[in-house]
């Protein structure tokens, strides 16, 4: 047996050759030279990358009206998957008006977005959780601004076909997600759902694998609403009990829909698109509220907006309020370093909080209250964009 441990599948064990073909055919040298030349040519193309030439046509300072064409610019963003669907719709709408601007947004999670912005790899970050004071030093571009975009419910979605209209109180929710309640027919769940027959299947918890603002808000809610039952703390990531993890809101939605007995937290937009079943959560007023845009809007209306335009819409008091409502923001640096990019960024944010708000409801997000939207537009003036 030859020493060849590199299996070449399908090659029959060969015999000896008797070919006496003459020395015709291209020498390997020429092939090698051609390939070398090709590689050099390709590398040459790669190295002389066409940088988009910036011609100064945009005005500095005021917001670019929608009918004034911006110079070409590429905006890269990363972060929250909670707002991903809204960003995609916004990008489509905005770039239709401003074809020279390219916007790429990846939904790698709020944690990744904040880190990328901190290292100035991207021009904006999407996040549902605030930058902690300890993390502020990692933002290398200096001071930054929060621009609110939309808000939406964080649904508690589950995959248990025999249960329709599951109701959960915060304590039960905390027990489920901390692993203390292990089966669907546990007494606490039965207490929240009198008269419903519950199966004895095991509960499979699905959480976020990546550093997530949705996780941060969900766990913050549990800490606020069920302080004794929930002991795992809150943050972009926490240490979960035995469970499954998905990447992004989309990943969690997928795991829930493919795992019978699963329960997890997913943003309203993705959950609706994946046709998941939602649980109704008991709000502070004692009512069991199903997730809805109306319930989210009421939550935002009932909470205080901070001067930096952030707010906490979790566990808000009032009737008709959906208790697990999350806002989501765009983070940008105050000091912009490039004129075209700064102008494009400003115009894009302006679009999202004004004309683009009409994209919110169809995408299953609650639009901003008018006053908040106006504050956001006013905050745009704080951006320092170089004049050329």
């Amino acid at each position: 047996m030859n020493e060849n441990l590199t299996p070449t599948p399908g090659r029959d064990v060969p015999g000896r050759s008797h070919s006496l073909r003459g020395a015709s055919g291209r020498p390997a040298r020429r092939i090698g030279a051609a390939a070398l030349g090709l590689t050099l040519a390709l590398t040459g193309v790669a190295c002389s990358s066409s940088k988009k030439s910036s011609t100064d046509t945009g005005s500095s300072g005021s917001t670019t009206p929608a009918n004034q064409q911006l110079a070409s610019a590429t905006l890269n963003g990363d972060g929250s998957s909670f707002q991903l669907a809204f960003q995609q719709a916004g990008i489509a709408g905005f770039t239709a008006l401003q074809p020279k601007v390219t916007i790429n947004y990846q939904g790698n999670g709020s944690g990744a977005g904040k880190k990328d912005l901190g290292n100035q790899i991207v021009q904006f970050a999407g996040t549902d959780s605030l930058v902690k004071p300890a993390e502020e030093s990692a933002m290398k571009g200096g001071a930054f601004l929060y621009f609110p975009l939309v808000s939406a419910p964080i649904t508690v979605s589950y995959n248990e076909s025999s249960i329709k209209g599951l109701k959960l109180s915060p304590d039960t929710l905390a027990g489920i997600f901390s692993g203390k309640i292990k089966t669907w027919n546990a007494s606490q769940i039965a207490a929240d759902n009198p008269g419903t027959t519950l199966p004895s299947d095991a509960i499979v918890i699905v959480h976020r694998a990546d550093a997530s603002g949705t996780t941060s808000n969900f766990t913050k809610y549990l800490t606020a609403a069920a302080p004794t039952a929930w002991t795992l703390g809150h943050g972009d990531t926490i240490t979960w009990p035995d469970s499954q993890a998905g990447q992004g809101n989309g990943g969690v939605a997928q795991k829930i829909s493919s795992t019978p007995g699963a329960i997890g937290y997913v943003d309203f937009s993705d959950a609706t698109k994946s046709k998941l079943t939602f649980a109704s959560i008991k709000n502070k007023a004692g009512e069991f509220e199903a997730p809805s845009l109306d319930g989210a809007a009421k939550a935002v209306a009932g909470t205080t907006i901070e001067p930096n335009l952030t707010y906490n819409a979790l566990n808000v008091a009032g009737t008709g309020v959906y208790p697990i409502t999350s806002g989501t923001w765009m983070l940008v640096y105050v000091k912009q370093t490039n004129h075209n990019i700064g102008e494009a960024l400003k115009a894009y944010i302006d679009y999202l909080v004004t004309t683009g708000q009409k994209l919110a409801t169809p995408s299953n997000y609650a639009p901003l209250p008018t006053s908040l939207a106006q504050s956001a537009v006013t905050q745009l003036d704080k951006l320092q964009i170089p004049s050329s």
Binding site: L5, P7, G10, A112, K115, G118, N119, T259
Partner: protein, 316 residues
Amino acid sequence: MPEVRASGRGALGDGAFRWLTLLAAASVLAILAFIAFSTTKQAWPAFMHQGWSFITSKVWAPQNNQFGSLALIYGTFVTAAIAVVIAVPVSLGVALFLSEQAPRRLRGFMVSAVDLLAAVPSVVYGLWGVLVLGPKLQPIYRDIHSVVAGVPVLGRIFGPNGTGQSFMTAGIILAIMVTPIITSVSREVFVTVPRADKDAALALGATKWEMFRAAIFPYSLGGVTGAVMLGLGRAMGETIAVALVIGSQPQISANLFKAGDTLAAVIANEFGGESTGVAQNALIGLGVVLFVLTIVVNLTARYIVGRAERRMQGAL
């Protein structure tokens, strides 16, 4: 063949060409050394931060700056072991079938079929596994558990609350992926069994199966072991298919129906989110650990096969 190396016209060209090819061959060594060096260098801060607990601690919690990879090493070995346990009987059967039993005319067609199994990209297996196979397997896992629940060891291995994305599903997908490798190398081994041995067994009245046991198996044991270890090495290094179906829960559990995680899957799933810092170095460190493990397995495979070869040639 005598090398025609003499002075005179063309000697310079010959020397230059020789050096060119030598450099090309040396590039393999250079690249391999470079891989080992640069990945270790990149991972060094994480190793320093964590010390030996990098491979002895089972807590993998990047958000708390804890980088223990024991659970991941466990997952890597368990899924590879499941894959080998399932794949070896099937592969050996296929290899025997192709080398001894298949009708001549169909042989080429069937060899092609096994090759196509190897040609399917791993991401396609992963896609199929996560969207089609996994959901179908979950009820089967639960049924299996309800059957063996009371049995001492089996009840724990085929434990409760199985999910479609688990060690077992990953092992099954890996089994499908390593079957062609084990089959192909085993087939090459079976084919070199001396015809005399086989004919002698048959002449003495052995049935086909007895001929396999008498003539083929003893002869090919070393080579087949090498093939199996190659498959093991491949299964340990497989990244994408496993990342999609393993469940992303780093934990050590005897329950094969539970979710887990492997070294390669964690790298694939978590790399995008970590842009800098010790966390990223730790992920590269996982790559170094995986690199070392697969090299050890592959070297052992080569050693075993080498010994078997020498024994077959009568040297040992």
